[in-house]
Structures are given as structure tokens and as C-alpha cells.
Symmetry: C2
Subunit: 516 residues, 2 copies
Amino acid sequence: MSKELFKSEDGILFTDQYQLTMAQLYFTMGLHEKEAQFDHFFRSYPDYGLHKAGYCINAGLETLVDWIVKCSFGDDEVEYLRSQIGSTGERIFKDDFLTWLRENGNFNGVTLYSIPEGRVVHPNTPLTVIRGPLAMAQILESALLNKLNYQTLVATKAMRIKEAARANTLLEFGMRRGQGSGVNAGVRAALIGGADFSSCVGISRSLGYPPKGTHAHSMVQAFMALGEGELSAFRAYAELYPDDCLLLVDTFNTLESGIPNAVTVFNELRAKGHEPIGIRLDSGDLAFLSIQSAKMLNDSGFPDTKIVLSNQLDELVIWQIITQIEEEAPRYGLDPERLINRLVYGVGTRLITSEGCSALDGVYKLVSVKDGAGWAPAIKLSETPLKTLNPGNKQVFRIYDKRGRATSDLLTVDEPSPAESKEIILRHPIDHSKHRVLTQDQVSAVEPLLVKILDQGKLVYDFPSIEEIRELRSRDMERLDLGVKRIMNPHIYHVSVSQKLWDLKQDLIRSVNGEE
Amino acid sequence: MSKELFKSEDGILFTDQYQLTMAQLYFTMGLHEKEAQFDHFFRSYPDYGLHKAGYCINAGLETLVDWIVKCSFGDDEVEYLRSQIGSTGERIFKDDFLTWLRENGNFNGVTLYSIPEGRVVHPNTPLTVIRGPLAMAQILESALLNKLNYQTLVATKAMRIKEAARANTLLEFGMRRGQGSGVNAGVRAALIGGADFSSCVGISRSLGYPPKGTHAHSMVQAFMALGEGELSAFRAYAELYPDDCLLLVDTFNTLESGIPNAVTVFNELRAKGHEPIGIRLDSGDLAFLSIQSAKMLNDSGFPDTKIVLSNQLDELVIWQIITQIEEEAPRYGLDPERLINRLVYGVGTRLITSEGCSALDGVYKLVSVKDGAGWAPAIKLSETPLKTLNPGNKQVFRIYDKRGRATSDLLTVDEPSPAESKEIILRHPIDHSKHRVLTQDQVSAVEPLLVKILDQGKLVYDFPSIEEIRELRSRDMERLDLGVKRIMNPHIYHVSVSQKLWDLKQDLIRSVNGEE
């Protein structure tokens, strides 16, 4: 990511006001430098309405860490806080707190563990763990959630779309419909999750990917307005980009004008020794038009040119298009598989906004506070049992069965790796009657998922490239049950707690209820 | 907005690749400096699924213009383009184009008209009009849509929520669930549309609004983990912020613990001469808990403290809460109106993401090209008649009836103001059988909506403050029919075309169909 300066609103003040007032309270109570641990996790998979995810793809870590290591309170920010006044005209922030903040308002004391980007992740599992001075760990909350929630949401959506597309090329086209400069984060996440390229130039450059694109209707319209036709527009484009010629054929009439004109130009290209890339369809019945276009292109000697589809695509629409092609293509004498494999998908709005579920419900919760030599676990009760916090300093283990498939994520608390015990007890996180017991002969591997990224503010992790992150993602997807990957009604992956964590949680619930 | 440097991916390369390849094509054809006009408009109101908007609030203009006047192609960007290679390893961009781009790759030739921010706007009406050299006007498309679509979407959602809240205080709380740094644009739009304050510190500062907040559950949890209770946490908070004391009462049990502890602290505050601000409820049945909390606060001598509600709120949920309070409060001896007017709403996810409709379908279409001395209108046909472009260089007039209510927006093309004709003919944009005729005695005012903002790249407009934009918005909302403002099933506001524009469009459709 870029190393340039932040705009003021993207720097350390990219936080919620209450983080600052709470930090001052901790300061006043002498708690501000007490070591605390916060877990970041999401509560439920994205639910898109008609369909729902059975996994997420973790993303956003490098963007977050890039922010953490560069941000601190300088004179400008401290003076701004000094100028804030409350309802009676008194200053909100006192001098002693501001003096401390100017000196210590950075993340040098923060240790960060995370499940790496690109990994498959599940609800109620710590994806990111922050350990550090209470005040600064609190101030970090808002930016952390902002930078992780959205990227994980989009990476997940991209993976689903890529799965629906049967791994054919996926182009990210959404910058015009995203949230301002937030699209840069969205493009990054889309590339992690499954998009192969993006149309967005600046961020593609920053990430080392070539941006991709074709042309718009306006190019054809401009020629028309000046008294020329679609054919002239195509010809001009082919002449300039003879080896990258991809023509948008639906400005007027796809089958009667666009494709015939494209074929004319493709023939001219070939006569000059160039092979066309393909056509793009951006409106109408994309399944029907794909078939008809493929037939016309085949009959004209272009059986291998790509057919790029765009216009309000998502995983369901793509699934529908492919299903329709499988049914209909044979009636026109086409091999459906061959047609499906020449399709390329340009996905805009519904990927960058994660249409149907536009936010991941990731949260950041205090789970323990260092008290003397030990850690005191913290809990927050909820009327919804699943929302009651898993307390304490936890580790997450992924357990693989004999087929090498991930069978459960297990949360433990201050205890040896489950690889070392004869039996692994997997307790349901809230239903006391449900548990599984695995013996080691049923298990092929036990993998700890959290990795140390920052040690007291110091980077101790080599960030992988986007390409390496994509490989991690592919490996995890291969080890995930097909039922969990299903686009609709996926199987529920097991996230379990150890007996020790179960006992700790029940003790705390009893203790809080007793006190209240 | 901030005047600091852009990150590279937020500068002039914040565009789609095809804009650049098309610009080079125009250059090669000698069309790059031909004057062209593009209209920006949206096609349909946000549709949230169960409910739908009947108007939008225009927003994003200053953010866009701020970008336009600062952006140009420098050496860095041009060298990057020089390095791009196509599928056969040839350079995509040629030296002559890059030389031109380095010299002329700025928006100094662009003239921009816009409907001001905060104004009520409707579909298929030019909200922004760009006139300038074809190549640069084309490159501008992606950033323009990015910066205008999202802000208009959020300003509209904020207005709907504010209407549902019966104009009570609305706090924007969404930064943790928005799209990365895009939330800064969202906060700005939320303030334009109806939010009174935001929790997000940096952007509030940039816009001159005090950020607002209370405290989180984690504060109470930290005290608990250290062996203290909720009461100690509240007391500490009240001591530090005696005149800004707003307590979150649902960490453990709202009615049995949170409210009683808050009342204890409020009494202590009052004994020291301070008045508490109120409480916040963030979970459970917010209508029921509002009533019970109000009753307990009233009975304890705090009938005026605010009750802040948060947790997955939007216009429907707020409407439901208020309806339930109107029904139930009297049973508990409470005046529902009084209770409703002490409520404050903290809205996060569903405002910043415009839950239910996460993108506005705004587009940017070539409508004419200067050809010699005159303008040649451009059209794009569509199988969906409403998607067929309104061609030519248009003006937009808002027509007010005798009650001072907006009755129609009228698109005209190169013709005198409708204020000057005896009768105003309002044609339905696609249905040839539908039209209305207004005589001047039925009309109280005819208002042109588009204002010149940039003249050949030069700013000729004084941007209003957010506060002034909010006043414009309120004035427009007062002049909008109640039926159009309705949250569910709103009346359809009339967007009409003049007879001259109707004729032009039909001529062009015939001419294109004839040619094809």
C-alpha cells in the first residue's frame, strides 16, 4: 500500500469520539496502561437474503497494520482535542491526559495476533487479537473494525462469485458504485477473494496488478453523433488495440448490429495477423445472448474469442446463466461446457457493495485485563446466548479429519495444544448437551491459526503478496467440505470450545449473575 | 475538505482503465479535444426491498469538485501508463498520446453545471452536466460517479431516517461498518441528509461539527474484570464528565442493574449541581425498554434526561418503535409524545451502508458532441424504453403549483424557460399518450435547477457550508408533497420532458433504427 501522508481524517482521528473519552477515563483512574486483551470476531456469516455464506475469507490485515504503524497523536491532533468543549463550555479533555496522549498516543505497546489474510474463517472465532495498554487498545477499535469488516465482507463475496463462475476469469468493475475512496480497499479484498483483475487503475497499480477494461457505450455513441456508425467505432478501436481487441456489442442491437460488426472487424484483424480477444455483453438476457453470440462467432470462425458478461451480476445470477446455458446450448448445437469456459465475468455493484449484505457484523470485545501477575477474564452477558462473550485469552485451532478436510475450529484458553491430548473434546459453544469427541486417529492435523504480527508495536511478520494470499485461500477452500461451500443453505461448520473454556465461561456467567 | 496530498490511488488514476484506452482512441482519431457533453443522472430511486424512496437528496458535489480542481496527470502517472503492456507485450499507450496527456491531462477545459447539494432530486434528470474536451470528460466519469452516487445514496437514507425520527436528534455511528476510508464521505452525506452529528472524529473535525459519543460496554467490563461493578464505572464516568454524562445501561441487565445504577449516579451528580444528559439503550426491545426506562427515570425525578437508542436502527425500525410507544406508553401512565421527543437515535450500519439498497444506479452518459458550430445530440437505445437516453443539452426546471408545492421537474432542450410560455406542456418521458398542460395561473414559480460550478476549469461558485446545505434540503422537503415523502409506497413525482425534447428523442430513435 502507499506510503504517502494521510489526510487528517484518515489518520489517528479516524476513530469514534467515545474511544477518546473512555481513554481519558482510564487515564483518570490510572488504568490507561493496564494490559488488556480485545478479540475481534464476527458473529454470523453474511446473509444475502435468498442465500447465505457458510464461510468467510479473512482480509484487511495488511491495510490495518499499515495504519497502526504509521499513526500516532501529534501536536495537531492533541491541540484539536484541547479545543473540544462539552455542553457547558468546559473543555472535554484535560491537560494531564493530553500531555500523556502526546507522549504515548501511539501503538508501540500493542501486540497483535491474527489469522492471516486469505484464510477461511468462521463466526465467534478471534480473527484478530489485540493486547496492549487499555487506552490505546480502546482507541484502536474503530479503525480496526472499519479496515477488517469491509475487506472480509468483499473477499467472501468475491470467493462466492468465483465459485459460481466455476473459476473462470472474474473482473472487478465496481468503483463507480462503491463508497468513495473505500473502493480501493474493496478492490484489494476482491483480488484476495477471487477477482483476477480490477478495472480501477490506481489501486491495481499499487497492488501490482494490471488494470483491465474494454470500452464503453459512449465511444460508439460519439462516433454516431459525428455521423459515423458502430462499425467505424469498432474499426478504430481494433486498429489502435489490434492484440487487445474486446468489443462492446450492445450499444444498439447485439445480434443484428453489434456481433455482425464485430465479426467484420475481427476478420479484418485476422487478415492483418492479429487475433481478437472477444466481445462484451452488457444488457439483455445474458444466457440467451451468450449462446447466440457464441453461435455467430463460431460460424464466423472465431470459436475461441472470449465472451465477457456484465450488468448486475452476482453469484446467483451467474449460477442461473450457467444453468440456462447448460440446458439451452445443446438445442443450438453448442457444447455447453466449451461455451461456459469461454465466459468472463465483469462484476461491479454487487461485489464492491456485497449486495444483499452490505456489512459484516464484526465486533471488538474486551476479553481480559491483566491484574497483577495474572489475567482477569472479562465477560459481557446477552439475552441472546450466542452473543455472550467467550472470555479470556484464547487460541484457535483448526482440526482436520483423516480426509484432510477441516472439521472444526476449536477455541481453547491457556491450555496445551489439542494435538497433545489423547481425545479432543469439542463442546458446542452454548448448548450444554452437544459435544463431539475426536480421538487422535480420527485427526490428520491440528493447526493453530493465530500468528503474531506485531510484538509491542514491532512488525514481526512478513506480509505475503496478494498472489500468495490467494494461494492460501485456494488451499483452505480445497480443505473445506463441499456442503459448507454451497451457495445456498450451506452446512454449518463447527466452531467449538474446549472443556476448560466452557467451564470458565459458565463460572463467569454465574459470578456476574450472582453479583447483579 | 482537507487540502493535503492524495495517495496515488486516490488521485487522477482513480479511474477505470477503459476511460484511458478510450481517451487514447479519441486522441488517435483527432476527437480528443472535441467538445462533448455528458449528463450524470440516476435511473431509479433507492429501493430498499420492503420500502422505497420517493425522492433523493443530492450530495457529493463539493467532494467531486475538490478532486477535479486538484487532479492532473503528472510525470509519475504518465510513466506508469508508459509501462503498461498489452497481451502481446506491446505498450498499450503510445508516446504521442502520453505527451499530449502530460500537457493536457487536467480538467482546465471542463465546464460543470450541477443541481446544488441538499436539493431534492429525481430520476432521469441531469444532476450534473459536464462539458469539455471529449478525452478528459471521458476520464472523469469513474471518479464523478464514485463521488456522487454514494453521497446521494446516504444523504437520502439519512433524510428518511430523520423523517421517521420525527426530526428528533439523529447521530451517525457507522464508521466501523462502512467501506474503509469511504466512511468519511458517508459521514458528510449523512450530515447533509439529516444526521445532526457523527461519532467519527476526524471527518467531524474537517467539516466543523463536534463529534459525539457516550461510552461502550467495554468500559463497564473493564471495571468488572478488575473486581469493581457497573456502579463504579458509571460513577467514574460521571465524575469525569459531570455535565456530559450519558450512560450505557445494558451491559448486564438494563432494568435491574443499568437504570438503578444510573439513577444513583444521576442523583449524586445533581447533589453536586450537575444535570445528567441521559442513558443509552443498545439491545433488547427498544420500545418496551424506552417506556420502562422513562418510567423509572421519571419516578426518580429525571423526566427530561435523554434516552438514546441504538442497535440496527433504520427508518422502519424507528417507525415501529414510535408506533409501539404510542400504543403502549399510556398503559404505563406515560405521555407518548413527551417520551418520543426525548428519544435520540444512534444509527450505524444501516445508514452508512444504506441497508437494503447499497448503491445508487447513477450513470454518466454522452448526450451530445460539438460538430462545427452546433451540437450533435447523441442517443443510446435500450430494450427498456426508460433507459433510452434523453439526448441533447438540457436544462431542468422545477415547477411549483399554487400551494408552493413542487409538482414536476421538466427537462427542456435549447428553448426558452417555461416561465415565458402561456402553457407548460409536461410530456411523460416514454408514454406518448400521457401529458399534462399547466397554464401559468396554476403555477407559482418556475425554477431552473442547474447552476454553473466550473467554467473552463475555473471555480465560479461559492460552496455553501453543510449548515446552509441542510437549510436548502429542509426548504425543498417542505415543498414536497407528503405522499412523495411517505416511507412506504410513495407517490411518483412527475419528471417530464418538453415537447421539443420529446420530438428530438423520437427523431433520433427513428434515425438510429433506420440506420441499423
